[in-house]
């Protein structure tokens, strides 16, 4: 049993709108990541993936507010800390975050090594500039990034290179958890592969100890992460290992997601691409029962009234549905 790097218990965070309505975008989410493992979070737009990422950092800005739950990083509880404490003691060293358009985060008037100086000095103001530059150089060499990019401005780099540079900058202090929020969605397939290779290298060399990878591209998650969680309307609806989730999804929603996979492999053209009808529910007034019931073709009337807990099965796996695993498997088999 390896060490648990990040443990989240019943995390609930909400947005307060200007009309003082509460929108629970992350609703009782629990997760656990061990050292050297990566976790993928999948789901459609607006299901709370990015809010979960922001909440995990413990860095709350209005309209996002913390409600309840614990975030424990390597034995240290960071929930309920003040934003200033979080910035000084948690971000960068414990958790690092890469947003989707990370490449736009670079100030065009400064050179790349200046950003690295900023990151290091924010945590240790006494650090000598020469040591920082040496550290940056050795890190860039190890990650296979060209050294001359350190002395360039952001506009001189290509999109994929900028993204990789930002990842290198944000992980310079060897954070325990890296949250990558769609780091490759804005890139083409070739640059995407370079970014993924770099993330994998960082895991292997121990620059980051664990990773949360958020995306809606399932083939990518399957190749990058060890475990996958599927999120719907602020809740986790299913979790399991990458292989189980892609080839044997249990929850009707995960199954719908897996149907939208597109890969250039034989037989894909005959495969009918199926979209899930309808739109996600409005989280201002979440449905009473199962949140997916409106769009689910297997829903029965009781689905709309009984609120559902996460049910564990087959060891580590879990799902949130009113039907039993056996029933759902039989239904799927019958369909095929």
């Amino acid at each position: 049993m390896s060490k648990t790097m990040l443990e989240v218990k019943g995390l609930t965070t909400k947005y307060i709108t200007r009309f003082h309505e509460d929108v629970y975008a992350v609703d009782h989410v629990s997760l656990k990541i061990e050292e050297g493992k990566s976790l993928g979070i999948a789901g459609e737009s607006g299901c709370g993936k990015s809010t979960l990422a922001l909440s995990l950092m413990g860095y709350y800005f209005p309209p996002l507010h913390y409600q309840s739950g614990d975030i424990i990083i390597d034995g240290k509880n960071i929930s309920g800390m003040k934003p200033d404490d979080v910035r000084k003691n948690v971000l960068g060293t414990e958790i690092a975050y890469i947003p989707q358009a990370a490449m736009n985060a670079l100030n065009p008037t400064r050179k790349i090594y200046k950003f690295i100086e900023d990151v290091v000095k924010a945590h240790d103001p006494k650090q000598d500039e020469k040591t920082i530059l040496e550290m940056a150089k050795s890190r860039f060499t190890e990650l296979g990034l060209p050294l001359d990019s350190l002395d360039k401005h952001a506009v001189e780099l290509s999109g994929g290179m900028k993204q990789r540079v930002v990842i290198a900058i944000s992980t310079i202090l060897k954070p325990k958890v890296l949250i990558a929020d769609e780091p490759s969605s804005a890139l083409d397939v070739t640059s995407q592969k370079m970014v993924i290779k770099m993330l994998r290298d960082m895991m292997d060399r121990g620059f980051i100890k664990s990773m949360i990878f958020i995306t809606h591209e399932l083939p990518l998650l399957y190749n990058v992460t060890d475990n996958i969680m599927v999120m719907y309307a602020g809740q986790i609806v299913e979790r399991g290992s990458a292989k189980e989730m892609v080839f044997d999804p249990i929850h009707p929603y995960s199954r719908g997601l897996m149907k939208s996979i597109l890969v250039p492999e034989e037989g894909m053209r005959e495969h009918k691409l199926a979209a899930i009808p309808g739109t996600p529910p409005n989280l201002k007034k979440p449905p009473q029962g199962c949140r997916f019931a409106e769009r689910c073709k297997y829903a029965v009337p009781s689905c709309r009234f009984n609120s559902l807990p996460m049910i564990e099965f087959e060891g580590e796996r879990g799902y949130r549905c009113g039907h039993s695993v056996q029933h759902l498997r039989e239904v799927y088999q019958h369909e095929e």
Binding site: E217, P219, Y222, N223, L262, E265
Partner: protein, 276 residues
């Protein structure tokens, strides 16, 4: 529906030696380099390449938004004439486009009714009674699974990305151009909505008989949707042919690399073959 006899259909759009050279000062950048293509009626063509391979420059030339440095484009067998604005408008009745970013495709000051009404007016339906127009708009919206009654009096920015992209297709449905050029229409929306958009494009091809030119960097997407595929590298077509030929038996090294770069699920994905 994959027809075998596509090559026997009349040509819709074809080009010979189409070239675009950008000149800034003394540097000359060849963005598109002597490409030849033949697009048949009712065919779904994908143009695949990385960023910077000249896909978008080619698409702008096809749309008549950029002048061609060399070569010629034939529209329905006749040399295309877009020498003045009037003729250009005439040409645009035959070719329309969907762009990558749904959020910047609409005029922010126009309500959705106005967007759709403009399309009806452009097709010469200006004199139609209002009831008929509403009926047409409702039909177009139901084609893309939107409810027209919910959209009236809304502005485009009140919709989600997927809904906006579907509204864009509703416009195309009303305009019924001969050719639809879709420049990465699904790269900014998530995988679920993507399936809906792709299905709608296939429906446009099968029911309306539109020629669709689909520009993408995702070869998996191209394989799923298209009849024929053109692979573009540094402004040149390195490989072309039917989707099955090109993607299941690639010949050019570039095509092989593009295919190896896409994450797969049934075969292992080798990260060590990454280009530097």
């Amino acid at each position: 529906m994959r027809n075998e006899d596509i090559s026997s259909r009349p040509l819709c759009l074809s080009g010979r030696g189409v070239t675009k050279i950008f000149t800034t000062g003394k540097t000359r950048t060849v963005a598109v380099d002597h490409v030849d293509f033949e697009f048949h009626e009712g065919e779904l063509i994908s143009i695949v390449g990385e960023s910077g391979s000249g896909k978008t420059t080619l698409s702008k030339m096809l749309l008549g938004l950029l002048n061609i440095t060399e070569g010629e484009i034939l529209f329905q067998g006749q040399p295309r004439d877009i020498s003045n604005m009037h003729k250009r408008r005439e040409y645009w009745r035959g070719i329309q486009a969907i762009f990558q970013d749904p959020f910047s495709s609409f005029n922010v000051f126009n309500k959705i009714d106005t967007v759709l009404l403009d399309c009806i007016n452009m097709r010469g339906g200006k004199r139609l009674p209002m009831e008929k127009k509403i009926e047409m708009m409702t039909e177009a919206c139901s084609f893309v699974n939107l409810k027209f009654a919910e959209l009236t009096n809304k502005y485009p920015f009140e919709l989600s990305g997927g809904q906006m992209q579907r509204l864009m297709i509703a416009r195309i449905f009303l305009l019924k151009p001969k050719i639809l050029l879709a420049d990465e229409p699904t790269s900014m929306i998530d995988a679920c909505s993507r399936a809906t958009i792709l299905d709608m494009l296939l429906q446009l091809r099968d029911e309306v008989g539109m020629t669709i030119i689909f520009i993408t960097h995702d070869i998996g997407l191209a394989y799923y949707i298209s009849d024929s595929v053109y692979i573009m590298e540094h402004g040149k077509f390195v490989e072309s042919g039917s989707a099955d030929d090109v993607i299941l038996n690639p010949k050019a090294a570039y095509t092989k690399r593009l295919i190896s770069d896409v994450p797969k699920i049934y075969e292992p994905w080798d990260l060590n073959t990454v280009a530097q």
